[in-house]
């Protein structure tokens, strides 16, 4: 089960955005997801696609966290200031990408996270988000386009849309 840990964490972080200095909300959503999995395990069909199942649960848990956060007052001085482009270290990726993801509209953010980070097919994403395969594909493509516009050239180089997205 724990082999899916990093994927589920990426999804939680992408859905919830940076959310404080230490990803605490995403960490909570991650824990809730795996506790739900432990509870559900004995009743699950052995043929269940665990990654897809976990991503669906993570989606619901992350939305719960998102709503809980919206109800919490956030002191404005906690919002970090952007101090120009960030030079990422070799292993740090592009932290600004988390922020850029966090600023996307929900549907785009979810579609990008589930397709590009969790590898879900667009049909399943459409089902999860209550729209169609085509709508999910379009939302992901729009999201990627918006991300490319928002982050530095170093990061955009690593985001190359799939052929299927270009050809839509």
């Amino acid at each position: 089960m724990t082999e899916y840990g990093p994927t589920v964490l990426r999804v939680c972080r992408a859905v919830l955005g940076p959310g404080g200095s230490d990803h605490a909300d995403a960490d909570d959503a991650w824990s809730e997801t795996f506790l739900a999995a432990l509870r559900a395990y004995p009743d699950l069909d052995p043929d269940t696609n665990m990654q897809a199942w976990l991503v669906r649960v993570a989606h619901r848990k992350a939305i719960d966290q998102h709503r809980a956060r919206a109800r919490r007052p956030t002191p404005t001085d906690e919002v970090p200031e952007r101090a120009g482009p960030i030079a990422p270290g070799p292993d740090e990726g592009h932290p600004e990408l988390w922020e850029a993801l966090g600023s996307l509209p929900d549907k785009q953010r979810f579609a990008v996270a589930y397709h590009h980070l969790a590898g879900m097919p667009y049909a399943e994403i459409g089902e999860l988000l209550g729209n169609s395969e085509a709508a999910a594909r379009r939302a992901a493509a729009d999201g990627i386009k918006a991300l490319r516009g928002r982050i530095g050239p170093g990061a955009t180089n690593t985001i190359t849309p799939h052929d299927e997205e270009v050809a839509r």
Binding site: G5, L9, A14, L38, Y41, P42, V112, H116, G119
Partner: protein, 198 residues
């Protein structure tokens, strides 16, 4: 699946994952959702996989068996609620470390024998009767288990012992003096017997 976005995301470090997993294990333990806890332990005969239920140590796995294979077997035969949760295995790891350091000749641990049944269980429960540094032949072990003719069955019981090292099946050898087979490979059996004979 697109991997294009992954390299651009900040890396999720091993420290992050291990902190999350430890927290999950604690919560799962508290909520009664941790049926099988496991950890790995380096040893002179390769990395060991240690797994325990609430009742006790349920499996000692060798690297040659494949960690994923052993974990899948536990999920199938014990419970799918399997988590890396080192805390429950702390006393086990301590005793095995002491054994390999030459400071322990007997194990004193709660055991869960659910992966062995019938005659096999009878046999492996008698293994600790063979003292540290001593050996039995398969025939002697069969006699000790009350079935002198069941020599082959003793061999099977030892080969499928879910708790090697702790239940010392490595001390059962062939009547011609050769070591015989071992779940952890013949090299590992040789190492253990040589270490105990020193």
């Amino acid at each position: 699946m697109s991997e294009n976005l992954l390299p651009a995301m900040p890396a999720i470090t091993d420290d992050t994952m291990s902190a999350l997993r430890n927290r999950l294990a604690d919560t799962a333990q508290r909520d009664g959702l941790l049926d099988v806890a496991y950890r790995t332990l380096p040893s002179p005969i390769g990395e060991l996989l240690l797994a325990a239920t609430e009742q006790g140590l349920v499996r000692v796995g060798f690297a040659v068996e494949g960690q994923e294979v052993v974990l899948a077997e536990l999920a199938e035969r014990v419970s799918p609620r399997v988590l890396a949760a080192p805390k429950r295995l702390d006393p086990v790891a301590r005793e095995i470390d002491e054994y390999f350091a030459g400071r322990r000749t007997r194990f004193d641990l709660p055991l869960d024998l659910r992966l062995a049944s019938g005659f096999r269980r009878e046999v492996i429960l008698r293994l600790p009767d063979i003292g540290y540094g001593h050996t039995y032949t398969y025939a002697q072990m069969a006699a000790a288990a009350g079935s002198p003719k069941a020599v082959r069955a003793v061999g099977t019981a030892c080969a499928q012992n879910p708790l090697p090292i702790v239940l010392p099946c490595h001390r059962v050898v062939r009547s011609d003096g050769s070591f015989g087979g071992y779940r952890g490979g013949p090299e590992a059996k040789h190492t253990l017997l040589t270490m105990e004979a020193a």
